[in-house]
């Protein structure tokens, strides 16, 4: 008799999901599936609203990474106005994104995932959480809480509130960085650095020991990786162009523009999940499986560009890079955790450089114009991967069509493959007809999903092909250039 075991809900992730394990006649794992069970339909109800509202509305897609939507909406807005934000505004937006990645990664590591490996896979499920960590190791928990607070506080200092600020706007940002804010950041940076150093030390020790098993079987498989890179292939979180590499470290596609996303990204629907299955179009479905997010960003880049982060990147590759790629590419999904810590270092160093930059305090922070284009695509690197916003508007700037490609969704194929691999590894013996699967084993399957730190409120959105026309118009409305793709 075949049997299905359901894990419902998957906990310590952001959003609503279930996992099913499918046993065959002999009680062996035949398949495992990750189901996302929520859908809100933003693409539909944004229609008819002014594009300037999009930042406010789409931020409400996700309370963990509202900044990603704010930035993608603002960047799409820049293109609709056909303006370049002033240099100081671009730097301030970058600081906002670095702070967000820092807080979101701290949340993923300390609050959501570390209880599994710091308290133990077998520990009491009622205690295996951030409150359990607070009881077991108050100093570490406090440091983690304060690291997330650092990121959140920078968001508030810039945008006026921690969650759902409306600070980035088409053309730039609303307010400059104050001298007091700059001072606060400078004062708190050393503590934040000390905390991530502590976390890295702790994590590497575990990786040398008990976590080797997880590293080997939590979603370790070849795939493509996608992310933004800056000039020279540098690690990038907001500007830049899209790069795909494969597991051998070869560049599969480079310098792709977000404007053309529909030519290389497709999305499939399966009946058993509200989360669609994006794939790299040239390789078809499901062979076009690719991964995004911290692991992918570290894999696609040549270097990060700041000293400590580059040293950590080198060590990350040396520890976990595959032989096939000459140590260049890390293919285990478990390494997302390590990659997040490396990225926190990158964010802290990036913020440090920006607060030291006096030009941040100078000049204009917002370019103003009226509507100059009817269609645009904006991109940003969310904590979980590359995020696309695509809007079409009418002459009054009212939205006629929206498409959002959300970071987490792009890991859907990989998340499904990961749960199958873990289930087969840890539930290797046949399960008798009446028998229960022990909770710690089920928790390991869930933990495979936690590696990806999925953001499911975000991810159940549509993506796909829309005919695309981008027009560049001068201030008086004259058409300067146009580009069209059907």
């Amino acid at each position: 008799m075949t049997r299905t075991i359901t894990i419902d809900p998957v906990t310590r992730i952001e959003g609503h999901a279930k996992i099913t394990l499918h046993l065959d006649d002999d009680g062996r794992i035949a398949d495992a599936r990750f189901h996302v069970v929520e859908y809100r339909g933003f693409e539909t109800f944004c229609e008819g609203r002014p594009f300037t509202e999009m930042a406010g509305i789409t931020a409400r897609i996700c309370g963990i990474c509202p900044v990603s939507h704010l930035l993608a909406a603002a960047k799409t807005g820049d293109k609709l106005l056909a303006v370049q934000p002033p240099p100081a505004a671009r730097k301030l937006r970058r600081m906002l994104n670095l702070a967000q990645i820092c807080q979101s990664h701290a949340l993923s590591f300390f609050h959501l995932s570390s209880p599994d490996f710091l308290l133990g896979w077998e520990s009491d499920p009622a205690q295996r959480n951030v409150f359990g960590l607070m009881a077991a190791d108050p100093e570490l928990a406090r440091a983690g809480i304060r690291l997330r607070q650092f990121g959140q506080q920078v968001l508030e200092l810039l945008g006026g509130r921690k969650i759902h600020s409306a600070w980035a706007v088409p053309g730039g940002v609303r307010t400059p960085l104050s001298a007091e804010a700059r001072q606060w950041i400078l004062e708190r940076l050393p503590e934040a650095r000390a905390t991530v150093a502590l976390a890295l030390e702790l994590y590497k020790k575990l990786l040398d020991g008990p976590l080797q098993h997880e590293q080997r079987c939590f979603g370790d498989f070849p795939s493509l990786f996608m992310g933004l890179v800056g000039p020279g292939g540098r690690w990038e979180c907001i500007d830049g162009l899209i790069r795909f590499i494969d597991s051998d470290g070869l560049i599969v596609a480079d310098d792709l523009s977000e404007d053309d996303y529909a030519s290389f990204l497709g999305e499939a629907v399966e009946s058993w999940s509200y989360l669609k299955f994006p794939y790299y179009k040239p390789r078809g479905y499901p062979d076009g499986l690719y991964r995004v997010g911290p692991l992918a960003r570290l894999n696609v880049c040549e270097a990060i560009g700041t000293p400590w982060a580059d040293a950590e990147l080198a060590e990350f590759r040396q520890r976990s890079g595959t032989a096939a790629s000459g140590g260049r590419v890390v293919t285990s999904s478990f390494a997302y955790h390590h990659a997040r810590l490396v990225e926190i270092v990158a964010c802290l160093e990036g913020i440090e450089q920006l607060v030291a930059d006096d030009s941040l305090m100078e000049g204009r922070i917002r370019a103003r114009a009226s509507l100059n284009a009817h269609e645009a695509v904006g991109v940003s690197e969310a904590p979980r991967g590359t995020l696309f916003h695509h809007y079409k508007v009418d002459d009054d700037g009212l939205i006629t069509r929206v498409n959002l490609i959300i970071a987490t969704g792009q890991n859907n194929l990989a998340m499904n493959r990961t749960v199958v691999q873990i289930a087969r590894e840890f539930i290797s013996e046949p399960v008798a007809a009446e028998a229960e699967i022990p909770e710690p084993l089920l928790n390991r399957v869930e933990a495979g999903i936690r590696c990806f730190d999925p953001c499911l409120s975000c991810s159940t959105h549509a993506a796909g092909q829309m005919p695309l026309r981008i027009e560049l118009r001068s201030a008086d409305g004259a058409l300067l250039a146009a580009r069209q793709r059907q």
């Binding site: 339909g41 109800f45 309370g63 959480n129 959140q152 921690k162 409120s457 993506a463």
Partner: protein
């Protein structure tokens, strides 16, 4: 003599998790909270899968948008002494309820959003996701929590700030009922 700890739960329905993030923005005050409560159910801070019996206080984020949300709302009401509508989505329906504007168009709101998401904007396998017992049906209208179950307290905000959450929780920890009045505690958005 120390008072017994409150049995404390948090739940998310159709929201963005921003209210839960604001709860985590209580930062180090969470240590204080932990002295007074046991977290018996929470998507961000517990691996317990079934909503337990005899919960004292539950913060409910999000609107009621699908069959799973509805089931959980009914269940938690039966098992909880004090239910708090936590944030604008729970209080008014907020952003998720924008979909209700499509209730009057042909086919209604459910079909409109599913068609757009899974038929028009799909490259392969276009279909409405449908897996009984796994993928919950969307309700035709997204409802605020109090249209589904009686609610004891309303804590608005999108999200309510950590200060506001604390102002609501502190009296509860003392065994008092919070007085939520004035713009600092009651403003939407």
């Amino acid at each position: 003599m120390t008072a017994p700890k409150l049995r404390f739960a948090t739940v998310w329905l159709a929201g963005c998790s921003g209210c839960h993030m604001s709860f985590l923005d209580l930062d180090e005050w969470l240590f204080e909270l932990a002295k007074h409560v046991d977290i018996v159910f929470s998507p961000v801070a517990s691996d317990i899968k079934t909503y337990p019996e005899q919960v004292d206080v539950c913060l409910v984020e999000g609107a009621v948008a699908n069959a799973d949300n509805l089931d959980l709302a009914l269940q938690l009401r039966q098992r909880t002494r004090l239910v708090i509508s936590f944030g604008d989505c729970a209080v008014t329906g907020n952003v998720p309820a924008l979909r209700n504007l499509w209730a009057e168009v042909d086919g209604g709101s459910r079909q409109s959003v599913l068609d757009r998401g899974y038929l028009e904007l799909a490259d392969r396998g276009a279909q409405h996701p449908h897996a009984p017992g796994i993928v919950p049906e969307l309700l035709e209208r997204v409802l605020p929590l109090h249209e589904v179950i009686p609610v004891d307290l309303f804590l608005p905000g999108c999200p309510p700030s950590a200060e506001r959450i604390r102002a609501c929780l502190e009296p509860l920890l003392r065994g008092e009922r919070p007085e939520l009045t004035g713009p600092d505690l009651l403003r939407f958005g």
